[in-house]
Symmetry: C2
Subunit: 219 residues, 2 copies
DNA sequence: CACCGTATGTAAAAGCTGTTAACATTCAGC
DNA sequence: GCTGAATGTTAACAGCTTTTACATACGGTG
């Protein structure tokens, strides 16, 4: 990537450090990562990063953003590859499978994303992947409008006061997000195949999604 | 806890270190934690811990076990406080709410538990909390036997070959576990109330659980 | 083009940490 | 009581984060 280490000034050290840090974390994990390594890999001294980042956590925060961006791109691609042709439910499941794939392929990135709950920072990048799912749920709800409810659950209320479809999409997407995220986490800790070796995250996701969607829209 | 720092030998340093580490992590987080602090808090020198633990990760692993034990106790208590009298579904939800409470009250413990997916260690403690949920699901399935299926989904297969109820309980409990774990994680990252301020983890859990259970057993 | 403030790099150092090695003390069993 | 094992201390090393003082390049202004 960086070809000419000749000049005194690096030229694009800020980005190069993020890339270097990302590569190191992807291969050696976040505990092994040191700012010294990242600086060396970028071809500068160990103090140079402090011209661009307040401290180590600040740099890690930017790597986290990169990771969330990668997740978004994976989900977005999965969404487009499964749009319309197949059913809307299959599109939702495809997005979930892409989420699980990302957690598997970039497992160290995935861990980094959910480390140390940040105090208040709400980056838009962090949510962008979520909105891919929201859009798919909206499409699903358009094709599967709610039926009249005979259920004493909250759906009766929703039907009674004609909820904006957007709020319902957000709620369902949140539940699906929680489900797939939990499956990804449990899978990473080898907690799924402990009893039922056939119970992998992919099939669990598929059946759970169908259940949730059916129940949430048919109530 | 430790009262007499007089004798050369501590007497119970191995446990005292876990407790000290747990307290430090609970108050200052896992990144701030140092083995030196834990040793000082236990009243010994900074090299003493290495007589009982191979390295820092080894000590942290034991703290993790303590955290999983605490989670188990919380879930077990919630299970017993909500057994029989209320419906079996309510018992399941009570367990889930206890899970969310634990994640909130012991948020640094909760983060520690899911950090750095361990390579192969499968401690029984880690799973004990899960079995509380499995038992509740089994009780639910006993009270709500599966109906004859007209669904082309996998439930037809299950019904056809008379699945052992235990396998089904494990599968449903796993799905519920993933769901509640995902909700806990998203809540910790302030990702739930970003749009719908009324959508807290507790209510989302309640509605999702009902949906999943209804759909999974009514299929 | 010369000048100068600013941005960006280096070098050195302080202070902390994890970890090990050599040594000291206590315990437990014979 | 003696002896080996268990447990603790001190000292030291290497590596890391972060700061400070200094060096170099860039960019705009006269």
């Amino acid at each position: 990537m960086s070809s000419s280490p000749r000049s005194y000034h690096h030229g694009n050290l800020k980005d190069a450090l993020i890339v270097a840090a990302a590569e190191l974390i992807d291969s050696h994990g976040t505990t092994e990562f040191s700012i010294t390594d990242a600086a060396n890999r970028a071809g500068v001294s160990n103090a140079a990063p402090y011209r661009h980042y307040k401290d180590k956590q600040d740099l890690l925060e930017h790597v986290r953003e990169l990771a969330f961006l990668g997740l978004y791109e994976a989900l977005d691609q999965a969404s487009h590859e499964n749009s319309e042709r197949h059913g809307a439910a299959d599109q939702i499941i495809a997005i979930g499978l892409a989420y699980l794939s990302y957690a598997r392929d970039k497992k160290r990135f995935f861990s980094l994303m959910w480390e140390h709950a940040p105090p208040d920072t709400d980056s838009a990048t962090k949510m962008s992947g979520f909105f891919v799912l929201v859009d798919a749920v909206s499409a699903y709800l358009s094709n599967n409008p709610l039926e009249a409810s005979h259920n004493p659950n909250e759906c009766a209320h929703q039907a009674a006061r004609q909820p904006p479809s957007e709020a319902l999409s957000l709620r369902i997407a949140t539940q699906l997000w929680a489900l797939v995220h939990g499956l990804a986490t449990l899978e990473q800790h080898n907690l799924l195949t402990r009893f039922d070796t056939a119970a992998n995250a992919d099939t669990l996701l598929s059946t759970s999604c169908h259940s949730l969607l059916k129940s949430l829209t048919e109530c």
